[in-house]
């Protein structure tokens, strides 16, 4: 008997309304593009949750390492000039 398989793992992203960002909904198993879209539709959008679906093989996602969080996501509080409130506007300036 051939080795049983549960197919490949895919990640599903759903856009709830045109113009909004695609948000990760979860994962599915599928063997190819067409099956991935079909399974994502059946599993994650049974009640009008979305108007558009992205699927991609999970193995193609590159993720940051949580150990690097301090370095990667340092808020750079010393670089206050990145924020608009750093700048002094002349008295009476409007719409800026």
């Amino acid at each position: 008997m051939a080795t049983d398989t549960q197919l490949d793992l895919w990640e599903v992203f759903i856009q709830s309304k045109s113009g909004l960002p695609y948000i990760h909904a979860g994962s599915i198993h599928a063997s190819d593009n067409k099956m991935a879209i079909q399974n994502a539709r059946d599993i994650y959008t049974r009640r009008g949750e979305g108007t558009s679906i992205w699927v991609l093989p999970s193995k193609h996602i590159v993720a940051s390492n949580p150990d690097d969080n301090d370095m990667l996501f340092d808020p750079s509080n010393d670089k206050v000039y990145r924020h608009p409130t750093f700048y002094v506007m002349p008295e009476g300036a409007k719409n800026i």
Partner: protein, 314 residues
């Protein structure tokens, strides 16, 4: 950075109310507890399709049949959300299914009871899904991110399940004497097993303390059971169903109902595999899993054919 990898740091993240994601450090006990709990939850959704699936062809109207089909499709979907969440912890779907089929992993023992007649479909939706919702609402705040997100999605869908069950019970209680008797009979058989769904009392629960410390569980078995009892007794009384308990009473001071002691012997007997349908449920799962192997093989063959074509035209 080795501090980040210590269990103390992990516990302080939990205590701060942070969510843990799959790539984050977690103690082995946390991972193991989650795999056991999430997979048991997933298996319950999937095995739970069986007692209801038994009634699709015998639903009393086209409306009832459509509803039941949609509900069972949801249960399958819930199982898949949860399997995906379990897989983020490093266990494969193949292993998860093997553990279910070998009996190594459990599922909710409530599904080892049979659905004998149409009133049981009402009682399952109202009581069994009702109890599950109380548990799942609490689990939306569980500390493991993928589990928590799956719970949010599931809770959105579950309330239809409970309402359709209560509607069936209401209709039968407004029907003929025979229909009322059927509804009461289903109530009598499902009430106590539903209360047992929350698990043993806190004092006898082997896994509770770690789970609460790690915020996997946000409320204890007894707290959740009490919530369910307090919600459900007035719903039963509203439609004229009698609670199959000669000694329950409302404590006016606390607003909580007190019930008679639960028969835990029955609970442990069913968990140990001696419920009315244990063997049937797992055998059925194995049979359809094996009969479906050709579909998975065909899907892989189809994929390989296309990969080959792409390589040839590249």
């Amino acid at each position: 950075m080795h501090n980040e990898h210590s269990d103390t740091h992990f516990q302080s993240r939990i205590d701060n109310g942070e969510h843990i994601e799959s790539k984050d450090y977690m103690p082995e006990g946390y991972r193991k507890h989650l795999i056991r709990q999430i997979s048991q939850h997933a298996h319950s959704e999937v095995i739970g399709m069986q007692p209801e699936g038994n009634w699709i062809t015998r639903a009393p109207s086209l409306r009832a049949k459509q509803i039941l089909l949609a509900k069972i499709q949801d249960e399958g979907g819930h199982g898949l959300y949860l399997y995906s969440a379990a897989e983020t912890l490093g266990i494969s779907r193949v292993e998860l299914i093997e553990n279910l089929q070998s009996g190594k992993a459990k599922y909710s023992s409530i599904f080892n009871y049979p659905a004998l007649n149409w009133a049981d479909i009402g009682a399952i939706g109202w009581l069994v899904d009702g109890a599950a919702i109380v548990n799942q609402v609490s689990l939306q705040r569980t500390s493991y991110g993928p589990y928590s997100r799956a719970m949010v999605r599931i809770c959105k869908e579950e309330s239809f399940h409970q309402r359709q069950g209560y509607e069936i019970m209401t209709k039968m209680m407004r029907g003929t004497k025979d229909q009322q008797a059927m509804a009461q009979d289903a109530m009598n058989r499902w009430w106590w097993p539903s209360l047992m769904m929350f698990g043993p009392h806190d004092t006898d629960s082997p896994h509770s303390s770690d789970a609460v410390k790690w915020k996997i569980k946000r409320e204890t078995n007894d707290e959740l059971r009490q919530k369910f009892i307090d919600k459900t007794i007035p719903q039963a009384e509203l439609i004229g169903l009698i609670i199959p308990d000669n000694n329950f009473s409302l404590d006016e001071k606390t607003g909580h109902y007190k019930i008679s002691p639960i028969n835990w012997d029955e609970f442990y007997r069913v968990i140990a595999g001696h419920g009315p349908c244990n063997k049937q449920r797992v055998d059925h799962h194995i049979k359809f899993h094996e009969e479906g192997a050709w579909i998975r093989e065909a899907a892989v063959a189809y994929k390989q054919k296309h990969v080959k074509k792409e390589l040839e035209t590249a």
